[in-house]
C-alpha cells in the first residue's frame, strides 16, 4: 500500500558527497572538534597521573596496595563479621563497608516508611494531624544534618550510666552504653532458617504472580496468604527443627564496667540512624505528598463514587499512579542517605570513611585510601540507582 502512494523521489538516498579536507565541510569540522576534545581529556588525565607519580616519588611516599595485607592493629567496636586488631587492613575495611551498608539499608527502609506516613498525614483532612506533619517537615528539613546528629548523640550520652541503666522489662537495658536486648546465641541452624525464610518469601511472590495471572484468565480471586504463611514461617521453623532446634537465650547482664551478652545497639549507631531517618523522611514526605497531589482529583472522586473506602482508594487507585512521580526523586534521597552516612565520623560510628581515614593516616597512603572510599560509595550508589531504575521501568505506565 504505502509503496504505491510514496513519492519515488523520497526513496532516493542523498548523493554521496566526497569528503573535502576543508573547514567548510561540516563532517571535517565535526571530526576535528571530537578529536580535539578527546585529545585534551587524554592529555589532562595523562598529565595528572604521571605528575602524581613523579611527586610521590620525589617525596618518597609509599604507594601500592601491599598495605591491605598488613596487620591493621586498629580496634573496631562494631563488626558484623569476626574481627580483631590482628586482622589485616582489608578485613578492617570490609568491616567498615558492612557498617556503612548496615546503616544505609536500615536507614532507607525506615526513612521510606516514616516519610510516606508523614507525607500522607500532611494531606489528612484532620487539621491537627496535617499541621503537625507540616511542622515536622519544615523543622527537620531546615536544620543541618550534622547538627541533628550531634544533637541526638549528645542526648544519648546524657542517658544514665550502665549501673543506673533504665530497665523497663527484664533483660532490656537503656544506658549511655546503648540499648541492650535479650537475644539468642546465634548458630548455623539460625542462619539456615533465615535463608529458608528468604526462599519462602521469593516463592510466595512467584506464587502470587501465578495466581494473579490465573485471576486475569477466569476472574476468580484466590487466597494467597495460607500458602504464604506456610512458606515464610512454616518452612524456616521446619528447617530450624530439623537442625536440632538450638535455642540458648543470651540475656545481657551487668558485669564489671559494662553489660555482657545480648543484642547491643550502640549510641553511635542509634544516633546516626535516628538522625538520617528523621532528616531524610522530611524530604521523602514532601515527595510522597507531591506524588499523591499529582493524581487528578477526578480519580479520587470516581473511586469514591464506586463506593470504595478511602484506604482502598489510596492503596489501589492513587498510590500506583503516584508512584510514577514518586520513584525517580526517591532514588536521590536513597543516595543521599548512603552518602550522608559518612558524617558518622563526627560521632564515632566506624563506617568505611572512619576506617579508611585511619588506614590512610597509619599507612600514609592517602591516594589509595581516598580511592577506596570513592569506589565503595560509587558501587553502593550505582547499585541503588540500577535497582531503582529497574523498579521505575517496572511500574511505569504500560501504554497500549
Amino acid at each position: 500500500m504505502s509503496d504505491a502512494t510514496a513519492d519515488p523521489r523520497f526513496k532516493r538516498t542523498a548523493p554521496k558527497r566526497p569528503m573535502k579536507l576543508s573547514w567548510s565541510d561540516e563532517r571535517v569540522r565535526a571530526i576535528f572538534w571530537q578529536v580535539l576534545v578527546v585529545g585534551i581529556l587524554v592529555a589532562i588525565v595523562w598529565w595528572l597521573v604521571t605528575n602524581t607519580q613523579r611527586n610521590l616519588e620525589i617525596r618518597r611516599i609509599a604507594t601500592g596496595w601491599g598495605f591491605l595485607q598488613r596487620e591493621a592493629g586498629l580496634p573496631i567496636a562494631e563488626h558484623m563479621i569476626d574481627y580483631s586488631p590482628t586482622d589485616n587492613y582489608l578485613r578492617a575495611l570490609m568491616v567498615g563497608v558492612l557498617n556503612t551498608l548496615k546503616v544505609a539499608i536500615v536507614g532507607i527502609i525506615l526513612a521510606t516508611i516514616l516519610g510516606t506516613l508523614i507525607g500522607i498525614a500532611r494531606l489528612s483532612k484532620n487539621w491537627l494531624v496535617s499541621k503537625i506533619a507540616g511542622i515536622y517537615v519544615e523543622v527537620i528539613r531546615d536544620l543541618p544534618l550534622l547538627l541533628q546528629l550531634l544533637f541526638w548523640y549528645t542526648i544519648l550520652q546524657g542517658l544514665p550510666g550502665p549501673r543506673q541503666a533504665i530497665n523497663p522489662i527484664d533483660g532490656v537495658f537503656l544506658s549511655n552504653r546503648g540499648l541492650l536486648l535479650p537475644w539468642i546465641q546465634w548458630e548455623g541452624a539460625h542462619t539456615a532458617a533465615l535463608l529458608a525464610a528468604l526462599v519462602g518469601f521469593v516463592l510466595t511472590w512467584m506464587y502470587s504472580d501465578l495466581m494473579r495471572a490465573k485471576q486475569m484468565e477466569d476472574g476468580q480471586p484466590r487466597r494467597i496468604w495460607p500458602i504464604g504463611i506456610l512458606l515464610i514461617i512454616g518452612g524456616p521453623i521446619a528447617v530450624w527443627a530439623l537442625l536440632g532446634a538450638p535455642f540458648t537465650p543470651d540475656v545481657p547482664a551487668l558485669r564489671g564496667f559494662n553489660f555482657r551478652g545480648g543484642l547491643v545497639m550502640s549510641p553511635e549507631y542509634f544516633a546516626l540512624l535516628v538522625g538520617l531517618v528523621t532528616y531524610t523522611s522530611g524530604f521523602i514526605a514532601e515527595i510522597v505528598r507531591a506524588g499523591i497531589q499529582s493524581v487528578h482529583s477526578g480519580q479520587w472522586e470516581a473511586a469514591q463514587a464506586l463506593g470504595l473506602k478511602p484506604g482502598v482508594v489510596l492503596k489501589q487507585i492513587v498510590l500506583p499512579q503516584a508512584l510514577r512521580v514518586i520513584v525517580p526523586p526517591m532514588t536521590s534521597q536513597y543516595l543521599n542517605i548512603t552518602k550522608n552516612s559518612s558524617l558518622a565520623v563526627a560521632i564515632g560510628y566506624q563506617d568505611i570513611v572512619s576506617i579508611a581515614n585511619t588506614t590512610l593516616n597509619q599507612t600514609g597512603q592517602a591516594i589509595e585510601g581516598i580511592a577506596i572510599i570513592m569506589a565503595v560509595y560509587l558501587s553502593i550508589s550505582l547499585s541503588i540507582s540500577l535497582f531503582m531504575n529497574w523498579y521505575n521501568s517496572k511500574i511505569a505506565l504500560v501504554e497500549r
Binding site: 611527586n55 617525596r59 609509599a62 543541618p144 564496667f257 572512619s354 585511619t358 600514609g364 597512603q365 591516594i367
Partner: protein, 349 residues
C-alpha cells in the same frame, strides 16, 4: 557548628593535599628539592607551623587568640632563628588525621604536634623526625568515682581513643597482651573525644600521659579524675619535616639541641644577653656565637641562640612555664646529668 567548619576544613585539607600531589608541577611543589624549605620560608616572610587543635600546655590559643604552649615555643624559636622575630609564625591547627597530609602537601613547613616517632612513619610518609623534644608514654585516665586503681582492672571497659594515632594501636596491642576485653569509642576531634569521656560514654580515656595531664588540668575539678600508674608504651614526641631537605631538618634539630645545651650551661632568658659578651666558657661562647660561626653553618645568623633564648628561655624554662602548671614532672625529660633524664645534646662545636 564549629565542628562543621572543622570537618569541612579537615576534608578540604585532605583534598588539597591530593590535589597538590596530582596537579602541581613537580618542581614548584617540591621545595624540598629545588629551592629548599628555608628559602621558601624566607621568601614568604612567615614560618607556617602545624600544631595541635588545642591541647593545654602544648598548643592552645589563649583568651586573646594568641597561641601558647610548649610546641608553640618551638615554633617561635624557629621563627627567631630565621627572622629574629617570634611573631612571624602562622599557626595551622591540625587534627591527628590530617597532620601528615598537611606537611606532605606543603601546607605547613614543619609540624610541632606531639607526634610519636615510629619506624613506619619515618619511612613511608615521606617525612623525617629531626629530634625528640618530649619523651612520653601512653596511660589511662578514669573518673575517681569509678574506683579503679590499676589499668588491669579495666577488663570489659569502654575506652575513648582518638583514631589515626599510635595510641589506638598501642591500646589494641596492650589489651591483647594483658587479655583485657574493651570496647573502643573513636571520635576524630580531640574535644569531642574528651567530651564523650566526660559524659560517661567511656569508662576510661587513653592517650599520652602529657595529654592526659593537659586534659585533667583543663577540667573544673581536676581531682575527680585519676591517671592510672601504668605506662603502656614509649612515645617519643618530636617535630616533623619533609624528607629530603636536610638543611631545614638540621636547623630544626639544632634549635632543639640549642635549647637543651642552654639549660645545661644555665643560660637563661634573663642572663643570655649578658653572658653572650662576658662568659668565658668556650662552650657557651660557641653556643652564643661569640666564637666560631655555627649559626652560619645552619644558614642563619650567628647570634641565633642569643635571640632564641632571649625570647623563649632554655628547655627547662619552657618546660616550667608550660608543662609544670598542668602537673607534669620533668621525669625522662630532665637533662641526662640528672638520674633518669634522657635529654641530651651533641656538642656545639
Amino acid at each position: 557548628m564549629t565542628f562543621f567548619g572543622h570537618t569541612l576544613k579537615a576534608g578540604l585539607r585532605a583534598l588539597a593535599a591530593l590535589t597538590a600531589l596530582a596537579a602541581a608541577p613537580a618542581m614548584a611543589q617540591a621545595p624540598t628539592q629545588a629551592t629548599g624549605t628555608l628559602d621558601a620560608i624566607r621568601a614568604r616572610g612567615t614560618l607556617i607551623c602545624g600544631v595541635n587543635t588545642g591541647l593545654a600546655g602544648f598548643a592552645q590559643p589563649n583568651s586573646q587568640g594568641v597561641w601558647t604552649g610548649f610546641d608553640v615555643e618551638y615554633c617561635r624559636a624557629l621563627a627567631v632563628a630565621i627572622f629574629n622575630d617570634a611573631s612571624k609564625v602562622r599557626y595551622v591547627p591540625t587534627t591527628a588525621q590530617v597532620r601528615f597530609t598537611a606537611l606532605q602537601s606543603g601546607e605547613v613547613d614543619v609540624l610541632f604536634r606531639n607526634t610519636t616517632w615510629t619506624l613506619s612513619r619515618d619511612t613511608s610518609l615521606g617525612l623525617d623526625f629531626p629530634a625528640i623534644n618530649f619523651y612520653d608514654g601512653q596511660g589511662f585516665m578514669v573518673k575517681r568515682s569509678a574506683n579503679v586503681a590499676s589499668a588491669r582492672d579495666l577488663d570489659g571497659a569502654t575506652i575513648c581513643v582518638q583514631p589515626g594515632t599510635t595510641t589506638e594501636q598501642n591500646l589494641a596491642d596492650w589489651a591483647r597482651g594483658a587479655r583485657i576485653r574493651f570496647t573502643p569509642v573513636v571520635i576524630e576531634r580531640l574535644e569531642d573525644n574528651i567530651a564523650a569521656y566526660l559524659a560517661g560514654r567511656c569508662d576510661a580515656y587513653t592517650t599520652d600521659i602529657s595529654g592526659l595531664a593537659a586534659t585533667r588540668a583543663a577540667q573544673s575539678q581536676p581531682n575527680d579524675h585519676v591517671i592510672l600508674p601504668e605506662v603502656i608504651s614509649k612515645e617519643p614526641l618530636g617535630p616533623l619535616v619533609r624528607h629530603g631537605d636536610q638543611r631545614f631538618a638540621d636547623l630544626v634539630r639544632w634549635v632543639h639541641f640549642g635549647l637543651i645545651t642552654a639549660e645545661e650551661f644555665e643560660v637563661t632568658a634573663a642572663n643570655v644577653v649578658q653572658l653572650s659578651t662576658t662568659d668565658t666558657r668556650p662552650d657557651v661562647q660557641r653556643l652564643l656565637g661569640r666564637t666560631s660561626e655555627l649559626g652560619q653553618m645552619l644558614g642563619v645568623d650567628n647570634r641565633w641562640m642569643v635571640n632564641i633564648i632571649r625570647t623563649t628561655g632554655n628547655y627547662g624554662e619552657i618546660f616550667t612555664r608550660h608543662l609544670t602548671p598542668i602537673g607534669l614532672q620533668r621525669g625522662p625529660n630532665a637533662l641526662w646529668s640528672t638520674p633518669g633524664g634522657l635529654q641530651y645534646a651533641p656538642p656545639f662545636r
